[in-house]
């Protein structure tokens, strides 16, 4: 029992080394060899013995790998705990009948040592054997002992290694299981995710070259193609996409991209694709997944929307243009109606008829206001109103508005007054016309809705920042007032406090809307406060630049004074009588004396008898022209006084000839008084005082026209009328041409107008500006680019009325 139990424990110990049936190992082989050499025996074995057999881990001199346990010598060795030497086995009772002994050339000598495990079990043996009887020396015994120990060290080391490997494997196995779980979970999630996307979205997978590698059913349905047929196709070809403009990398970068798909049979499809890149651990792209959605209806809808937006914008423009044109057209006949009504007023004595006439006049004025309002609003809408930046005087502008409305207020018996705080700057820079319009609108409105009491304007300064002052205008009345809920929509178009108001007070309901727009385009703000039956207060604030110069604004039409006022004698060689008169009249109020020669010869005659300080020389004269005369003066008479050429042409070569012949300066006809004085100042004093910048006041001269027509009044009037017509035609057609973008026509038109302007000696500067504006500038500047020219023309029209004879 004890022995059996001991054997079980021994077998367990043996198994723990896990050595039986392993491959040959060099370390063990060498130890066996060593034993054989030391003991000089042909046979040496390192064996392990289990319950059934002796297995050789290393062997010298034996063919077999193992033998049954009962046939072994070593079965006895393992029962000992020391070296067992049998010098002649034939004399040993335990071994003498063993088949290995009895066989031919059987074993005669045996020496074995048990291999003892750390815990004391003999798991195998080291043994040497010979076929001759033999003795073993003490040295050999010690050597065998050492080798045995060495074998056990090897076995122990091997066992520990195995244990470590096992442990390691266990750890690895554990990790592997855990990782697998995680991967399964993640991939499960991904799969669910992918499937749910795939259920509702088209999926196309492409490789880095754009070749389609996978698709789903949804995209197949979407593209009206069997999904699997798409595989292998080029993504770029399928969606007619330009590879050079949309590389895979760019598409991934963009993430979202609108693809267009034109199948051979179905209608065009728009597909919104999300590009998702799938990369490996190196961040190398393995594939790109396109998550696709059919957005065809959305795109179509958007296109429709844009189209209708364009159409409505176009129609709106048409409307504005129509309104602008029609308003203009309506104004003209209304003016006629009002004008003739006034004429009839003068003639009519019958009181009933006078009353009727008054009704016509009131209705006409009302109509005119409405048209003006509509015209204003359409101009604002078309962005045609530009704010002027010119110096003006605040009080002048305010008193102007009061002058206009004073009578109306007086008629109703309302007090009408204004006050300006003393700290408000008087000299400002801004648009006085627009300010005037705002004031008239608001004050007029207040007067209209006030039956008794007063309408008052208070002007105060809010603040000054960077030379810009915010001026507050407060217009309060004691009128009918406006209810709180109506206050909100006060500035809306076509809104009046009550429908009944329209009946009682009239108006378009545009006035306040226009006022608000006018305030806002000047970067201002407007608000209204009101209590029903107590009155209304409109408050608006407009920022104005402070006029730094602080000078009183005086309108100087570019006046130039003569610098040298000592008496001078001047010869004028000029055949044209009108020019003679013109120059004489200019010099009338100066200390200069003018003598006239009708041609060059007359001039030479006068020069021979008199001394002159200066000669004005017309170039084209009968008998002797200016060139010839000048040559004579310089070469024959040897006179050195300044000669100033009067030339009708601004030709460069003519000027050069003038200078070459010894003339000092020249004036191009028609010239102004200013130009004439400037030449004289240049000549006599060698300098000119800087003239004030010429204000945009238009000067019109009939001088050149009269050169053609003479003094024929009827003819002059006819020409002036044609010019008026021409200007009015230009005014009424320029907007249409601009809106139709006929820029070339506009340039030609401006070019053409230069001729007529020249006939009236009007500056063609603005026309030249328009003539030299390119398409781009027309577009970027908008219609406001015409403002200076249109202003000039309006100005000319006013002036023409005055010059009409």
């Amino acid at each position: 029992m004890d022995i059996k139990q001991n054997e079980i424990e021994r077998l367990k110990a043996l198994l723990s080394y896990n050595i039986i049936d392993t491959l040959k190992e060099e370390e063990f082989d060498k130890l066996a060899q060593l034993a054989s050499i030391i003991c000089e025996t042909p046979i040496a074995l390192i064996s392990l013995i289990d319950d059934k057999r002796q297995w050789y881990k290393a062997k010298v001199g034996i063919e077999a790998n193992e033998i049954p346990k009962e046939l072994t010598f070593c079965q006895f060795t393992i029962q000992k705990d020391h070296l067992w030497v049998v010098e002649d086995v034939t004399k040993n009772d335990l071994l003498k009948d063993n088949p290995n002994v009895t066989a031919e050339d059987g074993i005669r000598f045996y020496a074995g040592l048990p291999l003892q495990s750390v815990d004391g079990y003999n798991i195998g043996t080291l043994c040497v054997a010979d076929i001759k009887p033999k003795q073993i020396s003490e040295k050999e015994k010690i050597a065998l002992q050492i080798i045995t120990e060495q074998i056990m060290i090897l076995l122990e080391a091997r066992k520990r290694n195995l244990q470590l490997i096992t442990e390691l494997r266990e750890i690895i196995d554990h990790k592997e299981i855990e990782s697998k779980k995680i991967i399964e979970k993640t991939s499960g999630e991904f799969k669910t995710f992918y499937e749910s996307i795939s259920n509702n979205n088209g999926i196309i997978e492409i490789d880095i070259n754009g070749v389609i590698t996978s698709t789903n059913e949804v995209i197949g349905r979407l593209l009206r193609a069997p999904a699997n047929k798409l595989i292998g196709l080029d993504f770029y070809t399928l969606f007619a996409l330009d590879r050079s403009h949309n590389s895979i990398e760019e598409l991934i970068e963009k993430k979202n991209f609108l693809l267009e798909y034109q199948s051979s049979i179905a209608q065009k499809k728009w597909i919104q694709a999300n590009f998702v890149k799938i990369t490996d651990y190196n961040d190398t792209i393995i594939k790109i997944i396109l998550i696709c959605q059919d957005v065809t209806s959305r795109v179509r809808w958007q296109q429709e929307l844009e189209k209708s937006k364009r159409i409505s914008e176009f129609l709106n423009q048409q409307k504005d243009r129509f309104i602008a044109n029609v308003s203009h057209e309506i104004r003209t006949p209304i003016n006629a109606i009002l004008g003739f009504t006034d004429v009839l007023f003068e003639l009519e004595k019958d009181s009933l008829k006078l009353e009727y006439l008054n009704s016509i006049k009131v209705a006409g004025i009302g109509l005119l206001h409405i048209i003006n309002d509509i015209l204003d609003i359409s101009k604002i809408e078309a962005g045609m109103i530009k704010i002027d930046e010119a110096p003006f005087q605040l009080e002048e502008c305010i008193s102007n508005a009061f002058t206009v409305l004073k009578l109306k207020a007086k008629e109703k018996g309302i007090k009408f007054l204004y006050s300006i705080d003393s700290d408000v700057y008087t000299n400002l820079i801004g648009d006085k016309h627009r300010l005037n319009q705002i004031l008239i609108n608001l004050l007029g409105n207040s007067i209209k809705f006030t039956a008794n009491g007063k309408v008052e304007l208070k002007v105060s300064l809010l603040d000054v920042v960077d030379q810009v002052c915010h001026v507050e205008f407060r217009i309060s009345d004691t009128g009918i007032g406006i209810s709180q809920e109506k206050l909100q929509s006060m500035f809306d178009r076509f809104s009046q406090a009550e429908v009944s108001t329209t009946r009682k007070f009239g108006g378009t309901g545009l006035g306040l809307s226009i006022t608000k727009e006018l305030v806002e385009i000047q970067n201002g703000k407007i608000r209204v406060e009101s209590k029903e039956n107590e009155g209304t207060t409109f408050v608006f604030v407009i920022p104005f630049k402070i006029n730094q110069t602080n000078e009183k604004i005086v309108y100087v039409k570019g006046e130039v004074e003569l610098l040298d006022l000592s008496p001078k004698k001047i010869l004028l060689c000029e055949d044209n009588e009108l020019n003679q008169k013109l120059i004489l009249s200019i010099f009338k109020s100066t200390p200069y004396t003018i003598l006239i020669a009708n041609n060059g010869q007359e001039g030479l005659d006068l020069l021979a008898k008199n001394t002159f300080d200066l000669v004005f020389m017309d170039l084209q004269m009968p008998i002797m022209d200016g060139f010839e005369t000048t040559k004579n003066i310089r070469e024959n008479l040897k006179l050195q006084m300044p000669i100033i050429a009067l030339t009708a042409n601004a030709l460069i070569y003519e000027k050069e000839i003038c200078l070459k012949l010894g003339m000092n300066d020249f004036l191009t006809k028609p010239f102004t008084k200013k130009e004439l004085f400037e030449v004289l100042n240049r000549t006599f004093t060698g300098n000119t005082i800087p003239t004030l910048p010429e204000p945009k006041e238009e000067s019109i001269s009939l001088t050149s026209l009269k050169e053609f027509i003479g003094e024929d009044k009827e003819q002059l009037n006819e020409i002036i009328n044609s010019f008026q017509e021409q200007l009015e035609k230009f005014l009424s057609s320029i907007e249409g041409l601009f809106l139709e973008k006929k820029f070339q026509e506009i340039r030609l038109y401006a070019h053409k107008m230069k001729t007529s302007f020249g006939m009236f000696s009007i500056s063609t500067e603005e026309l030249v500006k328009i003539e030299s504006t390119d398409d781009e500038d027309f577009v970027s500047n908008g219609i406001t680019i015409f403002k200076p020219l249109l202003d000039q023309i309006e100005d000319i029209l006013v002036k023409l009325k005055n010059v009409a004879l």
């Binding site: 009708a648 003479g710 021409q726 030609l748 053409k752 001729t755 007529s756 020249g758 006939m759």
Partner: protein
Amino acid sequence: MKIVIIEDDDILRKSLVFFLKSKGYEVFDFDNGLQGLHFLNENYSDLSLVITDLNLPFTGGKQIVFEMKSKYKIPVIVLTASNVEATEMEILELGADDFITKPFSPNILQMRMERLLKV
């Protein structure tokens, strides 16, 4: 003497007509090149001088100069709005006998006309 004026600016044309009539010329005026050229082709044998603008509706002044000089040798004075040298040279190269830059004095024009008519 019969003079033809082709100029589309009403003011200048009317003024010129008045001026030249007052100087005793018989004047035919047109505000576009097409009508002007048609008239010239029909009546060239009676005409003494043509004054034409350069930029004209329908048929331009250059074509008028070219046709007048190549077919009938009638003197032509061109009215030009620009004093660009290139334009002036081009006018003379076309065969125009003279040109005058707007704005101009009618007296200068008359002088230039007379010089051409004497030859």
